[in-house]
Symmetry: D2
Subunit: 135 residues, 4 copies
C-alpha cells in the first residue's frame, strides 16, 4: 500500500504555536509535524483497542522464579495461544526476581484475557500491559 | 495580551490524515485545528504542573457526612489556604454520602499537599485531583 | 442497609508491611485499614463503569466565555439530560476563561456521550471526566 | 535478606469485603492477600520513581526500519548508557514496522532522558515507558 505524504494546515493562537515549538524541542522531536503525527497515531491505537481490531500488546512483568510451578503455569497459558505470542524475553534482575516481556498480537479481548491469567498467578509481583498496534 | 491567530502546516501520510478526520468527527470537534489545539493545551498544562508554575486543580471527593468531625477537619485544611480556594460545591448523593468539588489555584506543591491532607481524612471514601491550568 | 464492620487478615513479607505503614503515613491516612478500604473502593468504581451500572461523573472543563453561542450550546446539551445533572459550578478564572464542573449521575454511556458533546464544542479549551460512584 | 511472612488485619464494612472477594476471583488471584500485596508493590514502585531510587524501566516502541540512519541513532543512544541496558528485543511486525523492547536499569532521570532521546527520533512511531522496580 502506497501512502503518499500530504499536507494540511492548522490555525491557532500565536501563543499556542510558540508553546508547540518549545515542546517539540523539549521532547526531542525534529519537527512539529513529527509530534503531531505521533499524537494522531496514539488516537488510532486507542481506537483499535476500543473497536476490537487486531492490535499488539506487550506484557511487562516481574516474578519470583523460586515460586514452584510458576514457570510451568506461565508456559501453559502461553502455549494455549501460541500463534498470538510473537516473542518472549527474560531478564534476571536479582537472585530471586525475573523480568519478562511478552509480545502478543491478536484481538484486544484475547490479549487481556491472557494478561489477567498470567498477572494473577502466585509469584507474579508486577504486571502491566502496554497497548499498541501497527500504525 | 492580544494573541493573533496564525497558521502552520503539517505533513503526514495520507492514511494518518484520513484517520485524523475520522477522530475529529467521532470526538465531536468542529475542525481538525480544534482537536490539535486541545492536544497542544494538554501538553502545556502537563508542563506547568511539572515546572511548578501557577496552576488550577479540582479535587473531586466523596465522603461520609455522618463521620464525626470530618467537616470541621476539611474546613480547617481549606481555611489554612483560603486565598487558594476559588470555590467549593457540595452535592448530597444519598443519605450517607456527599460529593464535593474544590477548585484550588496555586503552585502544584501546595495543591498536592492540600489534597493529601483531605484525601487521608477518615470518612473520605474517594478523592481524585484533576490537573488543569489557564491555557 | 446495615453494613456491619468485619475483619480479615492479610499475610505478606515483613518488608512489604513496613512499606505499607510508611505509605499510610505519607498519604495522611490514619490507619492501614483506611488505605486498603480506599483501594477496594477504587476497584469497585472501576467495575461499575465497566459493567454499565449507575455511576457518577464529574466533568471539569475550561472554556472561553467570549465564544459566541457557547453557553447556549452547553445549556442545550445539559437540558436534554436534565434529570442526570445534579449540579453545575462556575468559576471565573480570568477575563476570558471560565472553569466549570458538572456533576452527572447515570449510566456510563450516557455520561460519556454528554462529555463528548460538550468537550468538542468550539471554545472549550480543556475537558476531563472524573469517574466515580457511590461506594 | 530474609523476609519472614507476617500477618496484619484489616477492618472494613462487610459489603466491601464481599466486593474484594469478587474482584480477587475476577482478576484471577488465588487469594485476597495476593491482591493486596500487588497493590502495596505498586505503591512502592511509584515511590521509588518519585524518590529517585534505582528502578527498572521497559521502553516499548514501534519504528519504521526503512528510515535511514534510525538504527544507528538508536544504538548510539543505547551505547552511551551501555551499563544501564539489560536487554533489547526486536520483533518484525510487518514489512515496514519493528517493535522493540528495551529493559533499562538505573535512576529515573537517566531512564527518562534516554526514553526522550529515542522517542523523538524520526521514524519512531510509538514509544511508551513502563515504570517498574525490584519489589
Amino acid at each position: 500500500m502506497e501512502d503518499k505524504v500530504v499536507r494540511f494546515s492548522v490555525s491557532l493562537p500565536e501563543s499556542l504555536l510558540k508553546k508547540l515549538d518549545e515542546k517539540t524541542l523539549d521532547k526531542g522531536y525534529t519537527s512539529r509535524s513529527e509530534l503531531i503525527r505521533d499524537f494522531i497515531r496514539e488516537l488510532i491505537i486507542e481506537e483499535k483497542w476500543e473497536k476490537d481490531e487486531e492490535v499488539v500488546g506487550v506484557l511487562v512483568m516481574i516474578y519470583d522464579h523460586h515460586r514452584r510451578g510458576l514457570s510451568e503455569k506461565m508456559l501453559e497459558v502461553q502455549h494455549s495461544r501460541v500463534h498470538n505470542i510473537l516473542c518472549t524475553t527474560h531478564v534476571h534482575l536479582d537472585h530471586d526476581s525475573c523480568l519478562e516481556t511478552i509480545v502478543i498480537k491478536g484481538k484486544p479481548d484475547l490479549i487481556e484475557e491472557m494478561v489477567t491469567k498470567i498477572a494473577g498467578l502466585k509469584g507474579v509481583k508486577f504486571a502491566k500491559l502496554v497497548k499498541t498496534a501497527l500504525v
